[in-house]
């Protein structure tokens, strides 16, 4: 197996003075591997990603990136170290054009030729990005905004990617595009930490699955095995698909 790229070790974290959300969370992601976090709403999945990307400093525990202790570093520093994070929900810059949004994805890239080729590539991937290049991003439909967000994240070529429910609100065709991209990343050796509510679908493609509840990982193992576990199915993955 390849080496561990990202690791959260025994992390405790929370917001303000409230009770901790994460209580001793440990997760590791290896290069070229997709790790999928599933769990009920409010389990702390998004919080875990925020700790990993430096948006939220943990109260205790460590964050390791490529073996280096990066606990408490700012997102800018982590970005420079090759870690990218796509937020849950709608995080486009609403009052900027789609073009500006996408361009900001490559804010740290100084090489304009490279930016240009990346931009062409994402336009290809999500036609709506090209079609609505000059529109205010906030005026797009929910799913279109999601596409812009994903496109923005693709402007860089990170070595670790944190994805928080990337398929939420996307129609089946675009969901497919997103999952294909994740697969592509894996094949190019990128480590992916994925949170998905579309759990069956995600576990199908992921390498490792982790069930998170109350701020802790309760079960983890090969993704396919988890998906097949009937108890898990009932509790976290919903009834078996109708088909």
């Amino acid at each position: 197996m390849s080496e561990t790229v990202l690791a959260l070790e025994d992390v405790e974290a929370g917001y303000g003075r409230a009770a901790p959300v994460l209580r001793g969370l440990t997760v590791t992601v290896r290069a070229g591997e997709v790790v999928c976090l599933v769990g009920p709403n409010g389990a702390g999945k998004s919080t875990a990603l925020k700790v990993a990307s430096g948006l939220l400093a943990p109260r205790s525990g460590r964050v390791l990136l490529a073996g280096q202790d990066v606990t408490g570093l700012s997102p800018q520093r982590l970005l420079a170290l090759g870690l990218a994070h796509v937020l849950q929900g709608h995080s486009v810059f609403r009052e900027m054009t789609v073009a500006e949004n996408v361009r900001l994805g490559g804010f740290t890239v100084r090489d304009s030729a490279k930016l240009q080729t990346r931009m062409e590539a994402v336009k290809e991937l999500f036609p709506v990005v090209g079609e609505r290049w000059g529109s205010m991003a906030g005026l797009l439909s929910g799913g279109q905004q999601k596409q812009v967000e994903f496109a923005r994240a693709l402007m860089l070529e990170p070595s670790v990617v944190l994805l928080d429910e990337p398929s939420m609100g996307l129609d089946p065709r675009n969901t497919q595009v997103v999952f294909d991209q994740i697969d592509l990343m894996r094949r190019t050796g990128v480590a992916v930490l994925l949170v998905e509510q579309n759990a069956r679908r995600a576990l199908e493609m992921a390498d490792v699955g982790c069930v998170l509840d109350l701020g802790r990982v309760h079960i983890s193992g090969p993704a396919r095995e988890l998906a097949a576990d009937p108890r898990l199915g009932r509790l976290y993955l919903g009834g078996a698909p109708a088909t």
Partner: protein, 329 residues
């Protein structure tokens, strides 16, 4: 807890009623009446600001209109003062409905700006309409109680303002318990969502706006007959309006007694700063810094400190533990 929450207001009410007889001189009666007036105005302000979150820095427009309306009815038409007070309050309320229809179309910061503009405009109109209002010379209103000497007049107005305060508090309390109040609070949180749940937000906002203007204009009318001289610059002053906001905010806009508490602190404090630091303009700085500190450190007001929220964020599903046991068994 119960004794404290019932007993303290009762005690304060008794103290308030006895106040004019407890203090040694009429100046303190006068200062008391002024404080109660501010308390009544900020409580009325809170009918709009506290429920809907529409911050009006321009409520002194209604104060001034109430004052001038009452004064003009008495001076120009010879209407008895009680009638003048009520008629002008009704007229101002009707006016507030019209202004409200335009003003509440904008939210947040734009509304604040509009409210500031309203005062400036009223000031210009009243000052410019010299033939009617006396313009910059001001309007002199005869005392309604020519037989009482000045100190006794203060006592009378102390109780009148106290009654107004009582009325304002009662209205706030009543609204806070009504479905109307629930609708107003929903407007504060998310206006479009409230609208989609069937709340006629426009009508609600205008009603709250007018109701709050009604009490403020009553305060203005009482002020006119009590004080006897009106000057446009000073009744239509942004400072008076912002005092209402400061008091409400300091005490806590989500609480019935918040604005009252704020008034009890700010009015005497203002008096103190002016006497202690009055020789230079540094007292303005003191007031300004007080405002800054309140906004930074007590945005929810003093009372919010005592009524802490019980639950923190993230209430786990009750079933979560059971769920876990089942899985990890």
């Amino acid at each position: 807890m119960r004794i404290a929450s019932r007993g303290i207001p009762l005690l304060v009410a008794c103290l308030a009623l006895a106040y004019p007889w407890l203090v040694p001189n009429y100046y303190l009666v006068y200062a008391g009446a002024l404080t109660v007036m501010y308390a009544a105005m900020s409580t009325s302000w809170n009918l709009l600001g506290g429920f809907t979150g529409y911050v009006s820095l321009g409520h002194s427009a209604f104060f001034g209109l109430g004052a001038y309306g009452t004064g003009l009815l008495i001076v120009r038409l010879g209407v008895p003062w009680v009638a003048a007070l009520l008629v002008s309050a009704v007229a101002v309320t009707v006016f507030a409905v019209f202004v409200g229809v335009a003003a509440v179309r904008v939210r947040g910061a734009s509304f604040v700006i509009v409210s500031i503009a309203l005062v400036s405009m009223m000031n210009l109109v009243v000052q410019g309409w010299r033939s009617l209002t006396g313009g910059s010379t001001g309007l002199q209103v005869p005392s309604p109680f020519p037989d009482l000497h000045r100190g006794q007049t203060h006592i009378v107005f102390f109780y009148l303002f106290l009654a107004l305060l009582g009325l304002a508090l009662l209205s706030w309390w009543y609204v806070s318990r009504s479905r109307f109040g629930a609708g107003l609070r929903a407007i504060r949180e998310d206006e479009d969502k409230a609208e989609s749940l069937g709340v006629p937000t426009g009508a609600y906002k205008v009603t709250a706006f007018a109701l709050s203007a009604l009490f403020v204009s009553l305060a203005g009318g009482l002020y006119a007959v009590w004080f006897g001289s009106l000057d446009p610059i000073f009744v239509f002053s942004i400072l008076i309006g912002s005092y209402m906001v400061l008091m409400s905010l300091l005490g806590g806009v989500r609480h019935l007694f918040g604005p009252l508490l704020g008034a009890l602190i700010v009015a005497p404090a203002g008096e103190y700063f002016l006497i202690a630091l009055g020789e230079t303009q540094i007292h303005l700085t003191a007031t300004g810094l007080l405002l800054v500190l309140v906004v930074l450190f007590m945005p929810d007001g003093i009372l919010a400190r005592f009524t802490r929220r019980r639950a923190g964020p993230s209430i786990p599903d009750e079933t979560a533990e059971q769920r876990l046991q089942e899985v990890t068994r």
